[in-house]
Amino acid sequence: MRGLWHLAWLELKVFLREPMGAFGTLAVPALVFFGANLAGTSIAPQRFAGSEFARTGLPVLAATFMTITAVLSLMTIIAIYREGGILKRLRATPLRPLTILMAHVLVKLALTAVTLVVLALAGRRFVALPEGVSMVSFGAALLYATACLLSLGFLLASFVPTARFAQPLGALVLYPMVGVSGLFVPVEAFPPMLQRIAQVLPFTHAVSLMQGIWLGQPWTTHLGDVAALFATAVVCSALASRVFRWE
């Protein structure tokens, strides 16, 4: 893992120098969060503020979008680096593929953490933190889930032929997963077959973990989700370092 911190720090700086870099990361989850709030409160202020969705759905929805944004942007960056020959140049150095992955994971986690803090500060007026829930605990759940799912993005990035395909391919894989993750409809409401599929998809466990922590459940209730996400990270990283293409 030589060069990891150096590379991560550099990648963060390079990312922030991009015109849309910092803005893009912050904007999408913020738009989801404030957009839904604005729509909800302008239609039926009383009903919305007290609704189940405003109290539990919205924060988890915004958090899930942070994860998706991070994964898609990781895929895009790897694809751009491959297409541009940057990965090929790094190949002739002692850098390992996993070090490159880890560096980008660190950058994405840092940006996700910043987004969360900004949303938490700005969103205090709209959404009250439920009784007995700590923002730190929720943040930890978000970052853990994101870290594990980024390995999935890295694996997918190995199959993206060009940078142009990164976003569509990522969306094609991620959005159906999110659709059946229990974010919109509880998994228990699905037919048995779909439930079983949902159970093996990592996003289901990410959503379950974040929802649970937001609702004040202890981490011990979600050890299964934690383990499933960890397994995702291990399997995807192992596969990715085998099928990783430098060019």
Binding site: G3, K13, P94
Partner: protein, 311 residues
């Protein structure tokens, strides 16, 4: 130049083969690069130079043959080999918004060994004023020079330079030649490719001539020339009587033509020029023009392949 056979081979390539689908990029390449020499792989576009070099670097997987660099397998022993080599690829990029200084620092951080003096390298390569410029704002030649600097950051034992002076102006080209000679002075080995025969002739201790995926011959430029282009030509303009007879009796001269008042003296004698000068002075000839035409690697290539390198 010391006798090559007495030195150790740091790169051994035997029967290298690489195909892309049905296209045979390298059919059969065998050669050795000796410690402390500047070795050039020369040939026209598409000859297979880059493919060969990238297989040796471990950036590409060969389909056949064996490769050893510093007695290591470039792919299997990559972890041991990579710290000891420096690579400049023919085509590559860095992050658009990384600065020259940041790239140098990152590269230095990737290696265990003490890094080269980055500032000196940049100054030598004429990049000192560009230290804080983003990669995307560098000109093509400046990017090229940065990649050469990166290849040298870890003080490698073997340096690979693929088309090292492509896109550089004559001044930068000369500076890089000096830099490469400096690398050799420090006992390191340089393996480079070029399609400029002049560059190969002036810079390389030995060259391998490559065409259509094959290495046709390997030797010092001088020996390649005398082996494949033994014909020498000396042109002398003189009004001396019986010059034709005198030139014709020089040992090794095969033909003397009189063209536009100039004698074209052809022969296979490596010392033909000396012999003609001696003849001229021995007979006190008045000479108004004198020119020795020596074949170059360009001519060697033509003789070996039947086509010119630019075709």
């Amino acid at each position: 130049m010391s006798e090559p056979t007495s030195r150790r081979a740091v790169i051994k390539v035997d029967g290298l083969r690489k195909t892309y689908g049905s296209l045979v990029a390298v059919a059969n390449a065998s050669f050795e690069v000796l410690k402390g020499e500047i070795f050039g792989l020369v040939g026209p576009n598409g000859a297979g130079k880059t493919t060969t070099m990238e297989c040796v670097e471990g950036v590409r997987r060969a389909d056949g043959g064996t490769i050893a660099v510093l007695d290591l397998d470039p792919l299997r022993d990559a972890a041991q080999l990579q710290p000891r080599i420096g690579v400049q690829l023919q085509q590559s990029h860095l992050q658009k918004r990384i600065t020259v200084r940041e790239a140098m620092h990152l590269w230095a951080a990737l290696y265990d060994r003490p890094a080269a003096d980055g500032d000196r390298l940049l100054a030598q390569l004429g990049l000192a004023e560009k230290r804080d410029a983003w990669f995307m704002t560098l000109s093509g030649g400046q990017q090229q020079r940065l990649f050469i600097a990166l290849a040298l950051v870890n003080e490698p034992d073997v340096v690979f330079l693929d088309e090292l002076t492509t896109g550089l102006d004559p001044q930068a080209r000369r500076a890089i030649w000096d830099l490469v000679r400096g690398i050799r002075e420090r006992g390191k080995t340089v393996f480079l490719t070029t399609h400029l025969m002049e560059e190969a002739e002036r810079l390389c201790d030995r060259v391998a001539i490559m065409d259509s995926g094959r290495v046709i011959d390997v030797d010092t430029p001088a020996r390649l020339v005398s082996r494949h282009c033994p014909d020498r030509l000396v042109v002398v303009a003189t009004d001396a009587a019986d010059a034709a007879i005198r030139f014709g009796s020089i040992p090794g001269v095969s033909r003397v033509n009189l063209v536009d008042g100039r004698y074209e003296i052809e022969g296979q004698n490596d010392d033909l020029t000396t012999a003609v000068i001696q003849c001229v002075s021995a007979h006190g000839m008045r000479v108004s023009d004198f020119r020795a035409v020596t074949p170059t690697l360009e001519d060697v290539f033509l003789a070996l392949t039947g086509h010119s390198i630019r075709d």
